[in-house]
Every structure is written in C-alpha cells, then in structure tokens.
Symmetry: C2
Subunit: 263 residues, 2 copies
DNA sequence: TGTCCAAACTCTTATATAAAAGTTATAGGT
DNA sequence: ACCTATAACTTTTATATAAGAGTTTGGACA
C-alpha cells in the first residue's frame, strides 16, 4: 500500500496487509480502492483454482481478519464479485463460488426462449469432436502458440423433439488437454470446463445476424436451403479475462426466439 | 412503519418518517428493507414528474434529514437507482435524474454495431406518423381503454448512407396526446417521450428472429425479396413498469450485427 | 483581466457497532 | 421417530463517524 493511497479512515488501527499493485507513491493516474484490491486478491484465489466452484468461502469476519481490513471492506469486495456472478451469497448460509449449474446456464448463457417467453435448454442429439488446425483468426483470438491445435466440436441440439440449433465450438487443445477422454460430451459443457480444466466461463459476447441456411444447415435442421436462420457468434471469457471459447450457432426461429433484456 | 419491521439499528434515535406499505405487524411474507422504501419514495417523485430528467437531486445529507433516515440508507437507495440507470451519480457534483442523451440511447437501447464492434446510431431518412385503431393484442399489451387509438410510426433508418433498418412503432394515443405536433419526429424518440410526455423509458425486452424480407422490406431496404433479415420485436417499459411502446424492426445484417453481452 | 489558491460542497471509501433475518446443528422433549 | 426450542453461525440492514477524491465557487493577487 502506498502512503498516498493508504485510505485508512475511521478510528481503528487496522494494519492493512493489502499491497498496492503499482508501487510508487504519488501515482498520477488511477487509484485502486482497497475493496477493489481485496476483490482482486479473492479473484486470484479463484483463478488459481485454490477455491473450486461450489466451495464455501470463509465468512466476512474471517476474511477481514485474514486480509487485515474491516468487515465492511470485505463485504464490498464480495458484493462486487456477486454482481459479476462470480460468487453467490445466501443470507444465513454463506458465500459460495458460483457453479455452472443448469439454472445459471439457462439464465446467463442461453437466450433462446419459446413463444411464451420461457427459457428452454435444448438437448444434444448429435455430438462430434475432432482435433484440427486453427485458422489464422482462431489462432489469434484464442492466443494459441504457433502450431497449437484446436478442438472442433459440432453439436446438433433439439427442443421438443425438433432439431433447431447447430453449433460449432472451437477450443485451444493446450487449454483443454485430453478433452476427447470425456466423449460423449455432456450437454452442459461449461460445467465440464469448470470441473476438469480449471476454466470458469464468466462472461460472453454474442453477435447476431440473419443469414440463409447452407445446404448443410438445411440437412441438419430439416429446413429448406436459403431459409433464414439466426447466426450467433459467441466469444466466451474466463475468470482471468482470457478468450477461451469460440462458438458459431445457427438457429431456427420459427417456434423460438433469442431474448435480449435491455436494462 | 410496523413494530416488527422497525429496523432501527445503530445507536442513533432517528425517528424514521418512512411508512411501511402493508400495515399490520407480524407480516408473514415479505419484508421491505428501509432503503428499498426510500428507493420507492424517490422513484415516486420521478414517476410523478416532480423531478424531471436532468434535475440535480438534493445531497445525501439533505435527503437523509428530509426522510428521517441515515445518510448511509439514502446512499443504498440511490445506489440501487443508479444500478437501474434511473439516476446518474458524479463524485463531487451530485446525483442527477438520468436523461436520454445520445450516449444512453447508444449503449442501453441500441444494440447494432459494425464489424469492428463499434455501436453506431443510424440517422432517420424517412418518418411517417398516423393515428389508427389498435389490434386486439396491441390494445391488451398497451393497456388501452376501449376505443382507445394508437399512433403508428414508420421509420427508415440508415447507417453510412445505406438504409439498413425499417421500424414500426406503436404508442397509446392517450399517453402521447398531440404527438403529431412534433412532426418531424427527432431521431432520438425516447428523449421526446421524456421531454414532452412525462414518460421515461428505463427498460426494454427484445425478441429476435431471422425472417425473410417481404416485398415491402425489399423495397425499403434495397435488397431482394426473401433475403434473410433480422426481426427485432421490442417492448419498452416506463419508470412505473407500464408497457408504453411496441416496436418491430427489420434489419439487414450484412455489414452490421446485433451485439449482446452475456454477463 | 486573468491566474492561482483555498474553502465549501459533492460523492466515495473505510471503519466500527449493533440488531434483524435466515440457516444449520444440537439438545431435549413427546 | 418426530417435533420443537435453542444456540451458534451466516449474511443483511442500519446507523455513526471520519477522511479521501473530485468539482465548483469565490476571493486574493499579479
């Protein structure tokens, strides 16, 4: 902690053991509040895998003693992590590392809903995995080493017995070693990343376009060629901010739609 | 304030003048924290139009005295409103009622981006307004009185000189009396709602589908018939939660796309 | 007139304290 | 075995206090 940014208010004599990120005093740009430093420290434990998903964290009291800050500061840090859905807090029970259970997948990462507006998770009816060479852009986006391979996953997914989504997923083979051992892949693939590859997807960006179904799309989705389908390109990011998954989905939107909340 | 839900912690003798919503003590279900009651009281002033968009609110100190709660409780209420983008807070300046300026429209309500990922607000190249009878579903969704009319707005919007979006907007004629006086309508239509009709849009829900361009779409957008276009259905909600606008957009997605953040 | 500094104001951060609300485990009764 | 009360824990709410950070304003001064 720098002298200028000590930030010890109040009357207590808390000897904060939290160190500032950039050492010198008299920092001109930026200034990191104590609770954000605490947030980052907690986040580091999650990134390292020291606290696995589902783990019960120490209580606010315990953490405040461990880290040498007040309970209120720990609370602000945990609230910030909670807002990013990185931890989940339950009054009376404690604070847990968020898991990729069905509900989270449904509400955070799956935006397809039926005409009543209910989110429905489709079942995987076909799945294929193979190792391949990445394209130039894939290699760049995923930050692969030269000659680094990728996994390519193709899945067909159905709702109410009707195949309505075809998706291609691209992953770094280095980050997901031995992924082929887990074939057949589970429907909830982010849970797999998290359980076996210390990779927690916390955030994703999607780009949507209306395109004409290719001959292959038509075959898979059981529609005519050139039928309008919704193309969804997704980039998924891990706890440390790294882009870890590329995905392209093509989706029929006759009985279903993509739901987006603007708030 | 009920006895059971007094919630006066601390050592102070604050005589909270905030009244509980449901009177009897021993309430079984629900319990509204004091800061949420304060939030609602502040929100009521916004809904009534007593505090217009752009207004500087009283300071936390002043509000805490006025409402008979602590400054920290006012802070929690204002933070909650800030999270919903209903007010905007600036350190050193104060708390302001959020306005529908260009930036807000761009980042909260317009999700079209170019291939670099930059949000771009399209210009209106054609605009038409007429009074008409609502369909049954429009009447129901907008909560119109029997025989209540609607306004229908048709707009064509262009990016970089290219018409790429055609939209139809439906509004209650009762809620927007004399809307035709404001023809030609400004590009930022939510600013118009807010300035002249005490209607602040705070939240919207969108449903996206890929559909084939109709003959009319093809004419407007300058594409061939049956070309895949992105159809966006929007319901926009006001401060009090009422559905105040229905909108259907059809959008070319060759050079642009709909950007959705999953977090 | 123009510049600089200090005061006064805002929100923000940080602390401490206390009580309420909700959960879980334990002990004791029927 | 089952239910109940209780104790011990958790997060959540509410308060008070103090100092930091950022903005605006007004006055001293050149």
């Amino acid at each position: 902690m720098t002298d200028s940014n000590d930030g010890n208010g109040g009357t207590g004599a808390a000897t904060a053991s939290v160190s500032s990120s950039s050492g010198r005093a008299g920092m001109q740009l930026g200034y990191t509040p104590l609770y954000m430093q605490v947030r980052q420290q907690l986040l580091d434990k999650l990134i390292s895998g020291e606290w696995q998903p589902g783990t019960l964290l120490p209580s606010e009291q315990q953490l405040s003693v461990q880290m040498g800050v007040s309970q209120g500061t720990v609370r602000k840090a945990l609230d910030a992590l909670s807002a990013d859905r990185i931890v989940v807090r339950h009054q009376g029970r404690g604070t847990f590392v968020a898991e990729h259970d069905q509900r989270r997948t449904l509400f955070q990462f799956f935006k397809i809903a039926d005409d009543k507006g209910d989110r429905v998770l489709p079942e995987t009816v076909y799945s294929q995995l193979k190792r391949a060479e990445p394209s130039a852009s894939e290699s760049r986006l995923l930050g692969l080493r030269p000659k680094g391979d990728v996994w390519r996953i193709v899945r067909h997914r159905a709702l109410k017995g009707r195949v309505m989504l075809s998706e291609q997923i691209v992953l770094s083979a280095d980050r997901f070693p031995g992924l082929d051992v887990h074939v057949p892949l589970p429907n909830n693939i982010y849970e797999l990343y998290e359980r076996h590859f210390v990779t927690t997807v916390t955030r994703a960006a999607e780009q949507l376009r209306a395109v004409a179904a290719s001959a292959e799309d038509a075959d898979v989705l059981g529609c005519s060629e050139h039928m309008p389908v919704l193309q969804i390109d997704r980039q998924a990011f891990a706890l440390n901010g790294a882009l870890v998954e590329l995905r392209r989905s093509r989706c029929l939107t006759e009985q279903f739609h993509y739901a987006s909340d603007l708030r």
